[in-house]
Symmetry: C2
């Protein structure tokens, strides 16, 4: 008794998804073939379509179906500001906060030497070129405040030190509505160190 | 700023996978497009191929690329025995145990009224027909010893009571190498109740 080859192929293929091991892959394959043919067909099609049509914006490196994305082409954005974020989801969060009207550069990752992700993998050569377009005056580093995000911000900061641009980092501190009693001490310490005059 | 439609489609499509919510779907889509184009292409292709070619065996209901699967066509199997399992993975485990040389019927699930899975969804009508082929003498119920697996075994047992076949259930008890000290009391109790003469 053998599993059909095409089923084995499907199970093996599903393992390329992050966080999916042999058992989940098998469960997923059974589910798709047994309970959700329509969803599976849609997935196969949208995956093939996305692979063919989605590329990286030549300016901001975000996912887009065009050469330069809608945001980068917009004339209502402030071209003197360039915000560096790790992932497209971070860009979306920034936009939802309605606090920023400049341009973006999406690293599509963060420095993580242990995972083999160095400066080249997060496209810092392209960022460097992007910064020197003659319009950008300030780089706003908005990578995460994780160890890797901080290291990335530090590295990018050093990289841009010699360029004629101001480099800033988004602020750390208590969240809006945050209470001292419930905040972790690291955040509180940073909030005190980075206190500002009012 | 908008996410490209094809990317949104892909994220939405990935949510049909079991256990994948909006955040994992987004992470998966980014991973596929950013880090594993080859794997994504393979997934799209093998999924499309599997959808087109994989069907259910007319005799045992297992996944196959043929009308009647290799195992059901084999003349070296004992056609008087029919083992009922929940999933293809269970059939593989039975085969790996090299303890059984009869035929199978794969329910592709278990009775679970709360999830809307009733007798029709686990193909009991087809099982009933399969049992009456004139060759089968004994039905071996090998559903899991979970609440749902037990309920399924009980239901199938009742269903076949009036037919001219013997219905058996695989044994419950201590696992091979199991120690009384470390086994749960439910299993130990069953092992005592189902003790047999030696």
């Amino acid at each position: 008794m053998k599993t059909p080859t095409s089923l084995e192929d499907l199970i093996e293929s599903l393992r390329c998804l992050p966080g999916v091991g042999p058992r989940s892959a098998q469960r997923m394959a059974y589910h798709l073939l047994q309970r959700d043919h329509a969803g599976a067909e849609r997935l196969a099609k949208s995956l093939a379509y996305a692979l063919e049509h989605i590329r990286h914006c030549e300016k901001c490196n975000n996912f887009t179906e065009e050469i330069v994305c809608e945001l980068c082409r917009s004339e209502r954005r402030d071209a003197t500001l360039l915000c560096v974020v790790e992932m497209p989801a971070d860009l979306l969060m920034m936009e939802q906060a309605h606090c920023y009207k400049g341009m973006y550069f999406v690293l599509m990752g963060r420095l993580s030497p242990l995972d083999g992700i160095g400066p080249r993998e997060i496209h810092l050569d392209r960022l460097l070129k992007r910064v020197q377009d003659g319009l950008v005056r300030e780089i706003v580093l908005a990578t995460n405040f994780t160890v890797e995000g901080e290291a990335t911000a530090h590295y990018v900061g050093e990289l841009l030190r010699s360029k004629e641009v101001k480099v800033t980092r988004i602020a750390r501190g208590l969240p809006v509505g945050g209470e001292l009693e419930h905040v972790d001490s690291g955040t509180l310490a940073q909030a005190v160190i980075e206190r500002r005059e009012i």
